[in-house]
Symmetry: C2
Subunit: 94 residues, 2 copies
DNA sequence: ATAAACAAGTTTATTTTATAAACCAAATAA
DNA sequence: TTATTTGGTTTATAAAATAAACTTGTTTAT
């Protein structure tokens, strides 16, 4: 029996966000939008979900007069991602 | 920019089906159902989608008096799966 | 100074997808 | 003979993803 891939991570966009955050440690909204090619709305919604799940921490600050929304993985998010990757490897025997 | 993971393969259940078919070459409905833990209805629907996409070939035959539905990857399906795996690897730098 | 365009998002509505429930036909067991 | 199981399909419901519309404030051009 195959193990279940955490559905909170598995969605197209959330997986992209999580893998980006694994490699860069911190990323802001615009960067994530560029890299994933997502619409703002979709990105906003999916970031909320990851945040509500406790997988990422979202910080809003002012840089000069502009707002900046940046995200980073939490410890829980890192663990969830590692587990996800392990299961994925078992799927694809990598 | 991240490449897009083929959404036809990326769904939880369809990915499970495809990875199983990569390793076993041929599998019947019951086997897929056991291995994926899916409901019959969901499995039926997702097999249809993969079939309509040309990624798998579904064969229905009689074994004795019982019907048997078995599936195998098409060449197109194999290619799509290889591409999917390559993109996934690039996500997770494996 | 004011209007037009832009940035950085959020909210809401629509579409797509996944899942489950109900159903069906044939075979086997009690 | 009447349940029960096997092997599914179809249809209805729930959840998710996506896009479109909107908001708030900023910069730029006139």
């Amino acid at each position: 029996m195959l193990k279940e891939l955490n559905p909170l991570i598995h969605s197209q966009l959330r997986l992209a966000i999580m893998t980006l955050l694994v490699s860069v440690e911190e990323a802001d909204f615009s960067y994530l939008k560029e890299q994933t090619n997502a619409t703002s709305g979709n990105l906003s919604v999916q970031l909320d979900k990851l945040s509500n799940a406790g997988y990422i921490k979202i910080t809003k600050e002012f840089v000069g007069k502009k707002t900046r929304t940046s995200c980073r993985l939490t410890e829980e998010g890192k663990r969830a991602m590692e587990e996800y990757i392990e299961i994925l490897k078992s799927y694809l025997n990598l």
